[in-house]
Amino acid sequence: MSALGTGKEILAGWVVLGCLLVAAVLISLTVGQIMITPAELLRGLMTGTGPGSLTLRVLRGPSTMTAVGAGAVLGVSGTIFQILLRNPLAAPDVMGFMSGAGCAVVAGVAFGLLIPLPILAAIGGLVAAALVAGLSFHRGAKQSPLTLILVGIGIGFFASAVSSFLVIRMPPQEASDAQRWLAGSLSARNWGHVLQVFGLGALLFIVLALQVRAMALLELGDELAAGLGARVERARYGLICTGVLLAAVGVAVAGPVPFVAMMAGPLGMRIAGVKHPASRLTAAAIAGATITVFAEVISRSAIPGLQLPVGVMTGIMGAPYLLWLLWKEVEAGEV
C-alpha cells in the first residue's frame, strides 16, 4: 500500500502515469498491420508528407486521439460516481447510464431523428439516471449505494435489450454498423470526432472544476458538508448531471465502451498515490485515456486482419477486475 504518499512519491506517480499515456499513444500510432517507426512519424509531423503523415492525419491519428478523449471523459465520469457513492462499483457503465446513452443513439438512428449524437446520448444517459434514482426511491429512507448500483445494473440490461431489439429491425448493413458501435468502437474515427470529444469534454471539465470543492465536502458526509457551507442536494445533483454528461460525450464518439469508467479511477488513484477528489479526477482522466488507447491498439492488432471493437478488449480487461471487486465486497460482507 502506498497510502503514505509523500510529495516525492506522488510526483513520481504522476510521472509514471504521464509516461504510460505517452507510451500508449506512441504504440497506438506505430503498431498495426503496417508498422510505422517513430522516426517516420516525426518526419511526417514535420514535413506533412510520407507514410508517417498519412498515419497521423488519416489512418491512426484520429482514432488514437478519440480514444484519448473518450477514455478521459469516461474515467472522470466513473470517478465522480465512485466518490459520490463511496463505492468502486459505482460507474456509468455498471449503472446503466452508458447503456441508456447508447440506446438513445441507436433509437435516434433507427427512427431517423436528425438530432446530434451527443445530445441523444445525453438524453439517454439522463433518462437512465433518473430511472435509477426513481426506482430505488423509498419514502423517508436514504438509498444505499448498493441498491442504486443494482438498480442501475438492471436499467443497463433493459437499455441493452431495447438497443438489440432496435438493431434487429434495422436493414442489414446499418444493423451491422450499429452492432459494432454498441460494442464500443473506435474504428473509422475522423478529426470531427476528436474535436467533438475534446471540445465538449473540456467544457464539462471546466464545469466540474467549479464543483470540485463541493465534492470534497460531500465526501465528508452530508451533515458536515452542509455545516461547511455546501448546498448538499444541489451540489449532488449538479455532480450527477456532470458525470452523466461526461459519459454521454464518451459514448457519442466511441459507443458504450464497457469498464473504462469503472477501472480508470482506482487505477489512476493507485498509480499516482493521491486521495483528494481533484487529484483523483485528474489521475482518472489520464488512466482512462491510457486504458482506452491500449485497448484500441490491442483490439486492432491482436488478430491480424481482424479489427475487433475496442469494447471487446476493455471487456476482457474489465471483467476480471469486476469479479475481483465483487469478491472483495462479498469478503467484506457488503453483498
Binding site: A3, L4, T6, I83, R86, L210, R213, A216, L217, E219, L220, G221, E223, L224, A226, G227, L228, G229, A230, R231, K275, H276
Partner: protein
C-alpha cells in the same frame, strides 16, 4: 433591542406523531461552553442539529444575532457557525492535513488560491489539537482519540465564533474524553468561541461547562449554571435517576453519585 447570540424562539422539532421538542425558547450564552444533556431519545442531538440548521424546525425559529438562520446564506452561515456531527466518517486514505484544509472552504472564493492565512489557520488548528506532528498521516492510521482530534481540527480551521459538537467524546476512553473536552475549553478561553456540545457523561459535562441545558423525556427540565441544573430533583425528572449530588472535592462543582 438587538438580540445577540444563538437563541431559539418557540422552537418545535419533530413530526406530527413524534414531537421531540415543543415551543422551546432559550438563549445559548455567548462566549461560554454549554452542554446539552438528557437521556437517550430526548431530542438533544435533534436540538443541536436544529441549532446548526441541519434539520428544519416544525415551527419556531433558531436565531443567530437576531437573524433567522433559515434565511442566512449557506456559506455565510458556515463562516459564523460550525458543527461536527456524531461519528463522522473520513474518505479512505486521506491525510489529516487534507481533512483540515477542507475546513477553510467557506472562507475561500470560488477560484481563490490557497492563501497564507488559510495555511496559518490550519497549522494553528492542528497545533491546538496536538496533531502538528501527524499532519501528513492518513486518518485511518490514527488512534481513536487522535482521529477525533483531527475532526475537531477541521471545525477549528473553519474558524467560526460558534462551534457545535454532537457527542465529541463517544467511543473514547476517559483520558481521551478529558483531553478533547479540555481542548474545547481552551479554545473557548483563548478565542472566546461559543462552544455547544451534546454530552453523555454528566460529571464531565459539569466539569467543563459554564452552562447546562437538561432535557428529559418530555422536553426541557432545566437550564442554567451547573449548580442550578444538577440537583437531585432535576436528575430524577430527566433520567428517573436517584442520585446524590455533592460538591466535587477537586472543583467544588456538583458531582453526581447515583444510588
Amino acid at each position: 433591542m438587538t438580540e445577540t447570540g444563538l437563541t431559539t424562539s418557540s422552537l418545535t422539532l419533530g413530526y406530527r406523531e413524534r414531537v421531540v421538542i415543543r415551543e422551546l425558547s432559550i438563549a445559548v450564552p455567548d462566549r461560554r461552553v454549554t452542554s446539552i444533556l438528557g437521556p437517550n431519545g430526548c431530542g438533544k442531538s435533534t436540538f443541536l442539529k436544529a441549532l446548526a440548521r441541519l434539520i428544519a424546525p416544525a415551527s419556531g425559529q433558531v436565531r443567530l444575532s437576531g437573524d433567522d438562520i433559515a434565511k442566512i446564506d449557506t456559506r455565510a452561515l458556515a463562516r459564523r457557525l460550525s458543527i461536527l456531527p456524531q461519528s463522522p466518517k473520513a474518505p479512505e486514505g486521506i491525510t489529516v492535513s487534507d481533512l483540515v484544509r477542507r475546513g477553510r472552504t467557506p472562507w475561500r472564493g470560488l477560484l481563490a488560491p490557497w492563501s497564507e492565512e488559510d495555511a496559518r489557520i490550519c497549522q494553528q488548528a492542528l497545533e491546538q489539537v496536538g496533531l502538528g506532528e501527524l499532519a501528513e498521516r492518513p486518518i485511518d492510521e490514527l488512534s481513536g482519540g487522535q482521529r477525533q482530534r483531527a475532526w475537531i481540527a477541521l471545525v477549528l480551521a473553519q474558524n467560526t465564533p460558534y462551534l457545535l459538537l454532537d457527542e465529541p467524546t463517544t467511543w473514547l476512553d476517559l483520558a481521551h474524553q478529558l483531553e478533547v473536552l479540555s481542548l474545547l475549553q481552551k479554545r473557548n478561553r483563548d478565542h472566546g468561541t461559543t462552544v455547544v456540545t451534546v454530552l453523555h457523561d454528566l460529571n464531565l459535562a459539569v466539569r467543563f461547562s459554564d452552562h447546562l441545558v437538561l432535557f428529559g423525556g418530555h422536553g426541557l427540565v432545566a437550564e442554567g449554571a451547573p449548580e442550578e441544573v444538577i440537583t437531585s430533583e432535576n436528575l430524577q425528572a430527566a433520567f428517573s435517576l436517584k442520585a446524590l449530588v455533592m460538591p466535587d472535592p477537586l472543583t467544588g462543582r456538583p458531582m453526581i453519585v447515583p444510588h
